[in-house]
Subunit: 522 residues, 2 copies
């Protein structure tokens, strides 16, 4: 079983770097990946996490590439205040009902000593009007839009911000649901419904393509059912990804807000005939939650596997240092290799390479990088250097493909010239694997009994069902929601790009009008 | 006076785009530049501003280049919580005294209706321990460091975060002093004083070079006098820039914190002999305040002038559209020009070019871009296109240099090939101009009477004085501070890179030990 060229024992000689397997306890496995890959940790501040360099590095890569897409669409970045006066929330009643509950409320602007050596909020410094730490920025951005927009010539107004937001959460889970999280929120204003809907769907398509291209995470882009709409929205769209435990993760949303927010904030324009009109607005957002999606899509029993496009390091070089004079020569060889790789371009950017010179043993360091999910690991020993070779490990193949699971020896120049292609292959392979799993775990059903039977089966991670429905509203919809709730299920979305419907609604038995996905969800 | 080639009236035919001149009312001029260049505006939320696309675009360029420098120094980005439990502040008593006063305090986590149609903080949802919106993150990052550091092998620990912070300010001024602002804060831990001091000075030198290179803003790097230290710091260093009104602006700080914060947060390591030691820590930061410095360094009576290295657009192309069929040909010519420019590289990055196709008249749009301070403006009319020419305006020369103040005609290919050099020249010219003005406005004094006389002279913007002093402490220092305060003066810093001292202290008449700058300041 030894790879004769590299002379190394197969990686599988030490099997699995984590103590919990996905199939045994997915939630525990998720926490373990985050800890072992050093992505984030609890901060000691309720509901807030510390994002560590590896986790933040992935976010930076995601940000950079998403931001390029946002700019390419002509959207301009701004920055709006963290604090929103309480009265802004009251302006938009429906919005208040849905959102204005669990939020961080600033009531004082000074601390003083209480005379017993403790600090307390100064009763003399109570704010006249409490400030809310933004849970989302429609209201404060709406106020700015009402100042910025006068005439049809100012439209469309396309803005975005990268910011932190706070939603007080009772039960938190790192990346998926934290009281504070990082996100981008796009906010746009248009002259009419058509323009706003076009933007809503453009953002949705941007998210779909980003998730599938950059994150190698297959998603379904579609409209949320009425009961899952963003408070105040006329229509909410989402991308939904299937995690390895079969649950759905909403990984991005785009809302057509109609003229409701424009009425609340007074966002009006003079049309070309001189009449005052209300704008049609949109908002759309993605957040650090996507990192949770990345972990649960690509992680395996050895930790994370990061798609190369968003990996902080795409290649890690591990010189097998022996604390001897020969190390200098080995390091020079590795440094040459690093330079040659950095000069290569993958996905339109220079290849990101780390030469890891830390004093620990290469085999120990190897497992650290395996857990972090670096796409390509190169171990370079004295024999490799002398022979002008590299020993390469592809993280995506660690276990999936027994024949290729181990280090492969290659002439250095050959590796350098095919490094970018190798990274692109890994990106595609991760997508293909996730896509195949997702598709294999969606089952078409035509009656509600089939839904019940599907989720009652003795299968730990059942996946989703795809059904046809008649898009009921009002009490009929409420009945559906309750029926599903009893099974811990929710409707995810109605896909935009779906086969035509042919049968009856699984709930109402009336003629179906569209497809809908039903699943357990995060 | 007409430039015969371009056939255009000289730009100076319409003199000055702003209504306030620097010499008449500098503070008013500053607000006007920000408004007219569309950089930022009041948000309606007390002390918080909205940063608009042009201001935020400059910040993004600054961030990108500063971040490259931070990463190149081996510092890793993380993200720490927005909220800091009140008790964390109490741990570090000196820190509390200096900082823990004007801060935003979160006391509730829920809003409810009060039964009269208004929202109020829910008395049932009062936090057991109030949370502070971070004014700076030493305490919360110190808590993380105490978890992350075990042994000397974990040192140095080098972290940075890009974040928003809040310091409740009574009097605010856009970019210079706002309740919420954006910044980066570096936090590092080291085994000993030497390592920490080296990092403190490395960060300071990074800031100096960034200010002078990227922002074309000359600064003095030096140590703050004891009375101006960051609360809890052993030594505080700063970069100080001179604004056009002669006042000083502290544009970045770097602190050696000794072991005080390490004691407060329990940041300890086991040294190579197995003994427990406290770490020596540092922190260093720069913020959106630098944008204020940029405006007051480079702005002129027509608005902002942005140094090309941080300009969101370095070149703006204005086609002189006439709403006629010929426009198509003109636009095609401009688009070719844009593509040719984007393929050029300035300061190691592709040239950033905007082709401004908005329907307004080119001459109107021109003034918008002049006020925003785009380094190069190209106006292209039908005659330019037919002749394969461009008409170029260098923003830095709009008034300074009468002979070159107007549009210059150039063959397109020639302009394209020298565009990068032109941008580099503008960058240097802005620095040289600011440097010359700064140096001309520093006066050496050798007695305190000379200081009094200098600031009593009938000169609106007197500048700084440079003196020698004996670095008094305790009551002697307090006396100096009060003496200066009576003249509305402060000591800025003692330059690291200064001529040797030769005389006596202007305050104590004891032998001087170092130089110090004294000025009015923001």
């Amino acid at each position: 079983m030894h790879n004769t060229f590299t002379g190394r024992a197969p990686v599988s000689a030490i099997r699995h770097a984590l103590s919990t397997k996905r199939e045994d306890d997915f939630a525990q496995w998720y926490q373990e990946v985050i800890a072992e890959a050093e992505m984030a940790e609890e901060s000691g501040v309720r509901g807030c996490m510390v994002i560590k360099p590896w986790g933040y590095g992935i976010w930076e890569r995601m940000q950079r590439r998403m931001d390029d897409r946002i700019k390419a669409a002509g959207v301009e970045n701004c920055y709006f205040p963290l604090f929103i006066p309480l009265s802004y929330f009251a302006k938009e009643a429906e919005h208040v009902e849905g959102f204005a509950k669990e939020m961080a409320v600033v009531t004082h602007h000074r601390l003083i000593g209480d005379g017993e050596g403790r600090l307390v909020p100064d009763p003399e410094a109570k704010l006249e009007e409490p400030l809310i730490v933004r849970p989302t920025s429609e209201t404060v951005i709406g106020a700015a839009m009402s100042r910025w927009i006068q005439s049809w010539r100012d439209l469309p107004l396309l803005t975005n911000q990268w910011a932190n937001v706070v939603r007080w959460e009772m039960r938190t889970r790192m990346f998926l649901r934290t009281s504070e999280f990082l996100w981008q929120e796009g906010h746009t204003a248009h002259a009419d419904r058509e323009g706003a809907m076009e933007e809503t769907l453009r953002a949705l398509e941007m998210y779909r393509d980003f998730a599938e291209t950059e994150l190698a995470m297959p998603v379904i882009a579609g409209e949320k059912p009425e009961n899952e709409r963003f408070p105040g929205a006329v229509a909410t769209y989402s991308i939904e990804a299937m995690m390895q435990d079969g649950k759905a993760l909403q990984a991005g949303t785009s809302h057509y807000l109609g003229t409701g927010f424009a009425h609340a904030a007074g966002i009006q324009y003079q049309d070309s005939e001189g009449a005052q009109q209300y704008c049609h607005t949109t908002s759309w957002g993605t957040s650090t939650r996507m990192i949770g999606g990345l972990i649960m899509t690509h992680g395996d029993d050895d930790g994370l596997r990061v798609p190369p496009m968003v990996a902080p390091h795409q290649v890690v070089i591990l010189p097998m240092l022996r604390d001897k004079p020969e190390d200098a020569e080995l390091l020079a060889y590795c440094e040459d290799l690093r330079k040659a790789l950095v000069a290569q371009s993958a996905f339109g950017e220079p290849v990101r390479v780390l030469l890891d010179k830390r004093p620990a043993k290469a085999t120990q360091k190897r497992w650290g990088w395996v857990k972090k999910g670096v796409p390509l690991i190169l171990e370079i020993g004295g024999r490799d250097a002398a022979g002008g070779q590299v020993s390469m490990l592809r993280r995506d193949r660690l276990w999936n493909d027994a024949a290729k699971a181990n280090f492969v020896g290659l002439p250095k120049a050959e590796f350098v010239s095919r490094a970018a292609a190798e990274l692109e292959e890994i990106q595609s392979a991760l997508y293909a694997e996730a896509r195949e799993r997702r598709d294999a775990n969606i089952t078409r059903v035509s009656t509600f009994e089939e839904v019940e039977a599907f989720f009652a089966q003795d299968k730990r991670y059942p996946g989703w069902v795809e059904a046809e429905w008649s898009r009921p509203t009002g009490e009929d919809l409420e009945a559906v929601v309750q029926k599903l709730k009893a099974l811990k299920l929710t409707m995810r979305n109605t896909p935009l790009d779906a086969d035509p419907v042919a049968g009856d609604c699984i709930f109402t038995r009336r003629p179906a009008v569209e497809r809908i996905y039903i699943a357990r969800a995060y």
